[in-house]
Subunit: 128 residues, 2 copies
Amino acid sequence: MNISQAAGETGLPAKTIRYYEEIGLVTPLRDSNGYRAFGEADVHKLTFLARSRALGFSIEDCRTLLGLWEDQSRASSDVRTLAKEHLAQIEAKIEDLQAMRDTLSELVEACVGDDRPDCPILKDLASA
Amino acid sequence: MNISQAAGETGLPAKTIRYYEEIGLVTPLRDSNGYRAFGEADVHKLTFLARSRALGFSIEDCRTLLGLWEDQSRASSDVRTLAKEHLAQIEAKIEDLQAMRDTLSELVEACVGDDRPDCPILKDLASA
DNA sequence: CCTTGACCTTCCAGTGACTGGAACCCTTAT
DNA sequence: ATAAGGGTTCCAGTCACTGGAAGGTCAAGG
């Protein structure tokens, strides 16, 4: 399977797949012409990566998860620990963003937004 | 005022302030020894920047906001438009993260997390 | 006067996870 | 023979800093 087909199957851009090979997440074989030849296992890995990345895991986390996935004897608690840590980070980020959103939406509400130069948003930014 | 004092007043790291000068957001004077000399206006600008960045505005947005702030004749609607666009982006990001959080917390719930190799999290990552 | 330590300066490199683009090779069809 | 549409590598850029090296400046203490 060529790279564009692997891209189609996994939903990842070809560029990203090349990058994943460069950093050692996948190692497709090569045809005699130098083209990458993706097998079933490669596509599975890439799908796994696409899904993990979509859930916000970092590349290094993904590397670890892939390792656990391929380790038949891993303990599921290792995976769970990683996932819980990541979940906590996501929740923290959500809270940060919600705080930003709350402040910002107050400011937008407070600003009439007409042609006059008086602007509560700038006032807040300057003074807070 | 030296850079470390400006850093203390604004809460920004000295490194960040130097960076802001490099990209033209502030232009403090220099003492004869080459040290940066921050005046009131510089500190005000830096405070404005710290606050805007804390609300998640990009550097380029901050540059625009600073410009509007210093433009006595700006219309407040310009500011409001920028803020509303930014607010929409933040809200989109919150939704993305909430979707991640929901999926991930389901997976963490589903995973007993014991010493056995069976792991619903990895199963999901591999198949979804 | 010398040293020590805490400042300050500049410049360069690295971060994360790609993404864009140039320059060039391979294959297939016309 | 050529043109289109794959593929390849390598280099540079993104964003907003951050770390570190190498070196200049200043005030206090011995």
